[in-house]
Amino acid sequence: MCNPNLGLIPFPARIIHITENTADTKTFRVVGEDEKKPFAHMPGQCAMLSLPGVGEAMFSISSASTNEEFYEFSIKRVGKLTSELHTLQVDSPITLRGAYGRPFPVNDVLIGQDLLFIAGGIGLAPLRSVIRYVFDNRDKYGAVDIVYGARSSADLVFLEEIQNEWTARPNTRVHLTIDREEEGWSGNVGFVPTYIKQLSFNPSKIALICGPPVMIKYSLATLIEMGFEKTQVYTTLEMRMKCGIGKCGRCNIGHKYACIDGPVFRCDEIDELPEEY
Amino acid sequence: MSVKIVAFCCNWCSYAGADLAGTSRLNYPAQVKIIRVPCSCRVDVQFILRAFVRGADGVIVCGCHLGDCHYSTGNYHAEGRLTQLFSLLDFMGFERERVHLEWISAAEGAKFAATMDAFVTQVSALGKNERYRNMYTKAGAQNE
């Protein structure tokens, strides 16, 4: 579902709001020309943000697809483009194209299911769009559990939104954890996979995992120990993407392209792919 | 359209010579733009070729007289390297007169101005540098 006629040509856009989540992560609110959203998107889909003269990169849209006024991108400063993005001010112009990738299956597989969101560090950004979509259509879905961990409390993105809005949501439980002891932190301390084992969810839920590859690996193993089937667990693959439309070959794993067949994959699908991610 | 000249001047001699040309209120064309480098041996082959690719019409490298280099052997290396570059550029069919190497001491303000004058006239005679930019006509490469 991307703009078929424009191919690789981006839309002019503008940053209308910037929030500092952590020392190296910022959330940018972006809107197209004359304050409209140039393309619709589904939860879990991504868009190519670009700064002419610097470069282009794929970022997951962390705002809800039902949100009409703007897109939100939570970006961690890692490379050349992200550092340049972090120097931008409100009202600076950028260019944008999308939406790319296969979204989370919110309208079929997830309907009526109990959901378990597992996120690590910046991994919460892609899941946030699904979580807010679920909250906007709360009755369609079962119980919601959110397990979110990071290195330190300062690394937890959208902390106030989680504590004020998400915990107040009906039939929703939020479990926060940080890797190491920190004074002034009342929540759980420990890695996400060990925390999941302590919480031990019943395996009828559908699980969605996003975060650093090592966290995904161990969380998946813990879920399987708890009786989850691989077909019940969805995750994303972090691959280099240039075109976003399955042509340029960079995100090619096996016979799949992460940018059109993913980045959201069901874990059993991942097992069919060669070990190259 | 006046020609664009880039001059790499070594900080200890030719840049000081350029300053002396200034303090003596001499005159040379404004197309010459000077880049300060610690020594003429700092001028990398890439800098000169990059200047031509980005639209310069002439590049001149200035350094201390042989034996006067503040780093004692810097200008010898520069001379060795640039002679090879110039002979290769000539071999590839580029106009040899668009590049030049000159030794100018801190005391030779007049020589600096005269050298710049002569070089600008020499390059202006050749006009804009078409050859350096169109050598490699891979489809769409150069039609910026």
Binding site: - | T23, N27, I35, C41, R42, C64, Y71, H77, A106
Partner: protein, 647 residues
């Protein structure tokens, strides 16, 4: 990245041909430039304060100063940046005065170019990394090369400040040219009377070690850490035992060797001290002319030497020594008059140079102070002086004025008239230059009191016919040609740097001008420092000067040297080479190009020693994979500058 751009008017120097507001406005188009301003005098206190306030107010991370040459105020503005809390190396200077406003009259062209230079500086500062100066230790010892009055004075001053000094002199005794002089202007003091006490002080001073009859062979290292290799040529005399009694040179059979000290007007023996008051008063065997060394027979000097100080088997002693600073005081030599055949200097014995006249007039000289014609020993009645021989002569001689000739010729005239009132003295001159203190009064006395005839004119040709020197001359004031004769002609020959200066300069990697005088760091602001850090210039090696100036400059050089020795640590230049060892393949090509041998291979990746590296960048531009880069002049910065200038 938040950049501030400051455009200076420099009074009218820049404002006259460059539209500063236009530049300040234009540079703001760059999103990263958050502040741009202009100011009449940025280098003044007010200007610098304006910069500091702007850095604080706009939290600037990079500053571009469009003003005069970085060679002028780069350090000033770096200190200003440091005061404002900005790293001193995140400041870039666009030279829009010496290289723009002063050399381009057309205002549009100059302003356009100034804007380009500003944009290039902005491109550089965007990529400027914060750099931190390193430190290196200082060896608390100085090396003075050249034992003339300049070297002696510098050595004494440094020693007085409490630092050890090695004074190296190539001839067997210190004293230099001044020791050869008779009187000195403008006070007519006897040269030896004012020089020998200093020579004795230098020899006696516990902080000074004399190395006479020695030469510096190699110098490595950099300011604070020089290592010099010095060769003490074998004197064939044991300096500890020798008492200087002189028995040896009395007995030495080969006596017909022209004495260098007496400019060849007298002879010396094979074993000799250059002059009576020589310091150290220890003779030297000139192995080229000593019969013992030529064919092994003789050895008389060893026989008569009570303390048995003579040692024919003595070898050259080569030693290396660490030094913090080095002072060049290599002095001068008389310009060779071969190109001036018309003065018949080589043909007639009675045509002599002023230095030779000094020896003739000197009581310790070959004639015991009696003025005699070298040809027949008679007292000359009529003496003609010719000024500017070889000086101010672009075609065959030196382009410069040798500065001291007018004064020493006047001195000679007065000294001769004092002793031989009836002597007739004519002086041919182009201009008489007497700028020093009491100089012109001295010259007026020569004319009015002693009746010396000054003729503004030239001597065309000299020919000696049966003992009388016939000269074709011209008097420019009278505008007539006339012939005249004289018993003796004294040529005021030009002076040039001593032959040892050029090899020394190459050893020290110090720049010299085309006339082989050492180049000073800045003609007005840093006259006694060479361009190479830690190397200072004392005396005529930097340019012609008389004794008062030489002593003044010698003390100045000493003071600068003490400035370095007084520090325990020296701040090293942070703009040095650095290696990205992920890219380096360890091919070692950069090692051979480094003049300071600063690069070594550590676990097959190159490494540049920041203490040795002087930042020439030869390695960085040789490295094919750009693994080696130079702080302050990185590949990215220069390429960005090229892009900005060519756009």
């Amino acid at each position: 990245m938040r950049i501030g751009v400051f455009v200076c008017h420099c009074g009218s120097n820049i404002k006259a041909t460059i539209d500063a507001e236009y530049i300040a406005a234009q540079v703001q188009q760059d999103a990263k430039v958050v502040h741009a301003a202009e100011y009449p005098y940025l280098c003044a206190e007010g200007g610098q304060q304006k910069i500091i306030n702007a850095v604080r107010e706009y939290q600037l991370t990079g500053v571009v100063i469009c003003a005069c040459s970085p060679r002028m105020h780069e350090n000033t503005f770096r200190k200003t940046a440091a005061k404002a809390g900005l790293n001193p190396y995140q400041i870039e200077i666009a030279n829009i005065r010496e290289q723009c406003s002063w050399v381009h009259k057309n205002k549009d062209a100059a302003t356009g170019k100034a804007l380009k230079l500003a944009k290039a500086a902005i491109a550089r500062v965007k990529l400027a990394l914060p750099l931190f100066a390193g430190e290196s230790a200082v060896t608390k010892r100085a090396l003075v090369i050249g034992g003339g009055i300049a070297g002696i004075q510098t050595a004494l001053d440094i020693a007085e400040a409490g630092f050890a000094v090695d004074l190296v002199e190539s001839t067997p005794s210190i004293g230099g040219k001044m020791a050869q002089l008779d009187k000195t202007f403008p006070t007519l003091d006897c040269a030896a009377c004012i020089l020998t006490p200093k020579m004795v002080d230098a020899a006696a001073h516990e902080k000074i070690t004399l190395h006479t009859y020695s030469e510096v062979e190699e110098v490595e290292g950099f300011v604070g850490n020089f290592t010099a290799t010095i060769r003490k040529k074998a004197r064939s005399v044991d300096m500890k035992k020798c008492t200087g009694c002189g028995a040896c040179w009395e007995k030495c059979p080969s006596k017909r060797i022209p004495s260098e000290f007496d400019c060849g007007l007298a002879n010396r023996t094979a074993i000799y001290t250059p002059f009576a008051q020589a310091v150290p008063n220890v003779p030297v065997i000139d192995r080229a002319t000593c019969i013992k060394f030529k064919n092994g027979r003789c050895g008389l000097c060893a026989d008569v030497c009570q303390p048995a100080a003579i040692d024919f088997t003595q070898e050259d002693a080569v030693f290396t020594q660490e030094y913090g600073v080095i002072i060049a005081a290599t002095g001068y030599q008389v310009f060779s008059l071969d190109a001036y055949g018309e003065y018949a200097y080589h043909d007639s014995k009675n045509v002599i140079t002023s230095l030779e006249l000094e020896r003739l007039m000197n009581a310790a000289g070959p004639t015991g102070g009696k003025l005699q014609r070298p040809s027949d020993g008679k007292a000359p009645k009529k003496i003609t002086f010719i000024q500017c021989v070889g000086s101010r002569d672009i075609t065959r001689g030196k382009p410069y004025c040798s500065k001291i000739c007018c004064m020493y010729t006047a001195k000679h005239a007065i000294a001769i008239k004092e002793k031989y009132p009836e002597a007739e003295i004519e002086i041919f001159y182009i201009d008489v230059r007497t700028p020093g203190k009491g100089f012109d009064e001295f010259y007026r006395r020569a004319v009015e009191v002693y009746g010396v005839r000054y003729i503004k004119g030239q001597v065309g040709k000299i020919a000696e016919m049966n003992g009388i020197l016939h000269m074709q001359a011209v008097d420019l004031l009278e505008n007539k040609r006339f012939d005249t004769t004289a018993d003796m002609v004294v040529l005021a020959a030009a002076i040039e740097p001593s032959p040892g200066a050029k090899p020394l300069a190459q050893m020290l990697a110090t720049p010299m001008d085309t006339l082989r005088f050492f180049s000073e760091a800045h003609p007005k602001l840093r006259p006694v420092e060479s361009a190479t850090a830690g190397i200072f210039l004392s005396g005529v090696c930097h340019g012609p000067k008389d004794i008062p100036e030489t002593v003044a400059q010698a003390s100045a050089a000493a003071c600068k040297a003490i400035g370095v020795l007084a520090k325990d640590k020296l701040i090293t230049n942070p703009c040095v080479a650095k290696v990205n060892d992920k890219k380096c393949t360890g091919c070692g090509r950069c090692i051979d190009v480094c003049p300071y041998k600063a690069i070594s291979l550590e676990s097959n990746a190159a490494e540049a020693n920041p203490a040795l590296c002087q930042g020439c960048g030869g390695c960085a531009s040789l490295c094919p994979s750009n693994a080696m880069d130079l702080n302050g002049f990185t590949h990215k910065q220069v390429l960005a500058e090229v892009d900005a200038l060519c756009r």
